[in-house]
Amino acid sequence: MGRRAAAAPSLRDVAIDWMVTLHSGEAGAADRERHRAWLQADARHRQAWAEVEQGVRRAVAPVKADAAARRAALALPGRRRALGGVLALAGVGTAAGWLAYRHGPAGAWLADLRTGIGERREFALEDGSRLLLNAGSAVDVRFGAAERLVVLRAGALVATAEPDAARPFVVRTAEGEVRADAARLLVRQEEAWTLAGALARPAQVRTRAGRERRLQEGEAVRFDAAAVADVPGPAAGLAAWGCGMLVADDLPLGEVVAQLRPYRAGFIRVSRRAASLRVLGAFALEEPERVLDSLAQTLPIRLARYGGWLTAISTRDET
């Protein structure tokens, strides 16, 4: 970005400043007139302006042209800050830099466990505990002296925690955490809430706002940052994915499709009316297309497949 001029701002900085002003949504005729005068004053001004304008246009215009891309860009979470640090170290490439990382927080080597589409995997943790990740899941492992922390970033897991009264096993999600000394826990990160179940031995739920709830063995709840609600039926049914099954005991179709999503590459759109239809049955997650077809045979729905990555489900009486 040019020389290090300490006092005078570079022409590029001036051009950037102009762009900031003109995009404020409140730039008036007087601003535009002054901008025009600045451009006319010097060819180097025009050059600097053209570069800044082009830089922004190249980055933005292709995304802006596509409505879905625009929404996707706005919905995107930021890049991970923690990794930003690692990247910076890799960029510097000095021995001191990466050695600092190498001897960084305990357990960092285990972090970033992820599973792809249609892939379930079991990971062994350093204390002998095990993590089974559902397809399309992401987890960071941060074991420390005070607790064994697992951060569920996406998807679902079943954790089998080895007993360690001194270091509780904690699964953290966007809405709160589930804690136990030794237990088998199911935790699923949904879009706006967390689903948690105690499959074996009790556990403790604590939402981000501080609400606490004890889970007896076999119980399941869903919670957001503030509130905890019971989930009817045994918790074990929610973990059927662990053996490749989707068990629907009067589940809304929307929920069935949500469980299928990590097993298919494309996206499934369900109309609101179709999403509320009730489903009964047991399905094999490994064959999501067959599940969809068999749903279409038993429910009053219509499937439309577009190029393999978009499937639309609507009721037959919808147009």
Binding site: M1, R12, I16, M19, V20, H23, S24, G25, E26, E51, V52, Q54, G55, V56, R58, A59, V60, P62, V63, A65, D66, A68, A69, R70, R71, A72, A73, L74, A75, L76, P77, G78, R79, R81, L83, V86, L87, L89, A90, G93, A95, W98, L99, Y101, R102, W109, D112, R114, T115, G116, E119, F123, G266, F267, I268, R269, G307, W309, L310, A312
Partner: protein, 161 residues
């Protein structure tokens, strides 16, 4: 580099496979990792020899991260597509072009703070003025201006590179 590759690429592939579970992709990503190392070396950077595996892992984590980030971008786009009221079915070419555009914007805004990215995108993609952005994100207009300047500078830096 040759020696490094021969001594460690099997190990690296295993390491990657443990993280993504797919042997095929692990091989690809291991390849990408060595390519990055090669590029770094040409740029005059020395691969530290004392603990090459630690260094390899750092670079591999970056490659892995970019791989997942591409997936996330694609997923976000598909979800937005599915949420659109009208039925659209873009062609395979559209899809590649759009994903490239998203990746590019994401890379350009790179490691800017989330707030800065949001300010820039709300202004550029949604055409919101600074006052409205400030209200939405709960920040003073002067901070919105500063964020804009930072993001525009990042666009220029990327275009110049």
């Amino acid at each position: 580099m040759q020696a490094l590759y021969e001594a460690h690429h099997g190990w690296l592939e295993n390491w990657l496979r443990r993280h993504i579970g797919c042997a095929h992709q692990a091989a690809d990503l291991s390849h990408d990792t060595f390519e990055q190392l090669l590029r770094a070396e040409r740029g005059g950077r020395q691969v530290p020899l004392r603990e090459p595996r630690a260094y390899l892992t750092v670079v591999a984590r970056r490659v892995l991260y970019e791989f997942w980030r591409r997936r996330d971008l694609e997923r976000a786009w598909l979800e937005a597509l599915a949420a659109q009221p009208e039925e659209v079915a873009p062609s395979a070419e559209d899809r590649v072009a759009v994903l490239q555009a998203l990746q590019r914007l994401d890379a350009v805004l790179g490691r800017l703070p989330l707030r800065t990215r949001q300010v820039f995108m709300l202004n550029q993609l949604e055409d919101l003025g600074y006052r409205e952005i400030g209200e939405r994100l709960g920040m003073p207009v002067i901070s919105v201006r500063r964020a804009m300047a930072r993001a525009i500078a990042a666009c220029c830096a990327a275009a110049g590179a």
